[in-house]
Symmetry: C2
Subunit: 280 residues, 2 copies
């Protein structure tokens, strides 16, 4: 694989652009093809087989574009599909769960780690599993927060409504020893101020908020170095965005998530392939 | 078409069951096949071509099951796809927009009618168009309320949070002469008490809330009579539910929307067909 090839990143929608933002800051010489599967967003409430099929389809499209590595920038897709993607293709595929779990395990003093995410991510148990593999003594407290994604997509990021929603969801943390909270969904960094505000008011101790973007970027840098896949230094990386639904309306929201101006995305069609039962 | 064949009803998810509830009450002798396209829910934020493709796929599946008539129990699918479905098949296809628009036109004293719906339904302009066709003097005020669907799906139907969300969305109605509000999304009837409460507090005059269920059912009865398609009297209608995502978890939510106990839905796969450009 040519080291000048782009890195493929996919998510159900715009959320994964929070990961792209961190990758672009750390690796400005790398080109990125970002695929938002906006015709099927959100993945977070869907069943395991459906998310796995959608993730196989999305990865196939990126592979067909000649990417040298793939980042699954969606917690639910990572939770349900990462092993299947790694089995199916020889291109390295990185998820967003393991890196932030490792960062949280290192950060926590109490050994009690909170995890918030979509219904799918939480019910998959991927975070307790990842944390347990790092250190069986770690305790995790999981909460599904299905309204956070629509709030972030609607742009209602601060003020009374997001804080009250956060208050309802995060209430069960009060009686715990949690000192570190994993934002286990790539949409949640946009709600970080509201979540932090509620936790400050509610929790007896300071709670550190960790999201996937930074930890996944560090893991990606290590992976590219290990495999000798870094782009030539001095090159200037280009970000290409693809979406499966109408690109109209994606631009303003995507620029907010990516932290840089993103023009009109390219529309691509994904037609469901038949995948072997072994992968599904 | 045998008059003992079932009626097909589809929606992106569970919302259309609020329409099924009204149909079952009025036509207990009719069997219904309900399809919730839960692997692709929600339709409300998606682009026109995507919603049309999904609606063609869903209708094809119901046609293959031998239905005698189809109700598109989703405002966004009606807005974007109804003419294409009616062109493609000879089985009668009924949408949810025209019936409730007619009921609102008849009900309003001021001639100012509010419409709330998903982003897709509102930006399609289907309600202003339907109302204008009934009476060009009618004035409509449209508001997209994207958070109402996730609130209804999460089951947060009353209390401070849904009322504050409703307050933000409905605020622009205060300065209008609106006396009738169309709930232009099949999820919204679940939020009716919260919406009514906010309007009572906020509006100078009483606002009547109309949803699609009753008006569409009346239109369906008229259609079946006109076409001679009524089930034999004395028969007992059966409700069959199909979903495209994992049926697990559909049952409790679906029973709440349908107002009757619904057991495990049957899982069906929809594979995207290639549709002619003329239909898309």
């Amino acid at each position: 694989m040519a080291h000048s090839a782009p890195i493929g990143v996919f998510d159900s929608g715009v959320g994964g652009l929070t990961v792209v933002r961190a990758i672009r800051a750390a690796l400005p010489e790398e080109s990125i093809i970002y695929l938002g599967d906006t015709a099927r967003v959100p993945y977070g409430n869907r069943g395991e087989a459906t998310v796995r099929r959608y993730s196989l389809n999305a990865t196939q499209l990126l592979i067909d574009r000649g990417v040298k590595a793939i980042v699954v920038a969606c917690n639910t897709a990572t939770a349900y599909a990462l092993p299947a993607l790694q089995r199916r293709w020889s291109v390295p595929v990185l998820g967003v769960v393991a890196p932030v779990a490792a960062a949280a395990a290192e950060r926590s003093q109490t050994g009690h780690i909170g995890v918030i995410g979509t219904r799918g991510t939480i019910s998959s148990g991927c975070y307790p599993e990842a944390l347990g593999a790092l250190n069986p003594a770690l305790r995790s407290v999981q909460i599904a927060c299905p309204l956070f994604v629509p709030l972030a997509e609607e742009g209602w990021l601060d003020g009374a409504i997001p804080e009250q929603v956060a208050q309802v969801y995060l209430e069960p943390l009060v009686k715990t020893q949690v000192d570190t909270l994993i934002l286990g969904c790539t949409h949640y960094p946009l709600l970080r101020p509201a979540i932090a505000h509620v936790l400050d008011r509610m929790m007896p101790r300071k709670v550190a908020l960790l999201d996937s973007a930074q930890a996944t970027t560090s893991a990606l840098v290590a992976l590219l170095d290990r495999e000798g896949l870094r782009a030539p230094s001095g090159s200037s990386g280009v970000l290409t965005t693809l979406v499966t639904d109408d690109p109209k309306g994606f631009a303003p929201l995507s620029s907010r998530f990516a932290g840089e101006y993103i023009g009109q995305a390219e529309h691509v069609d994904i037609h469901d392939k038949e995948w072997s039962d072994e992968l599904l």
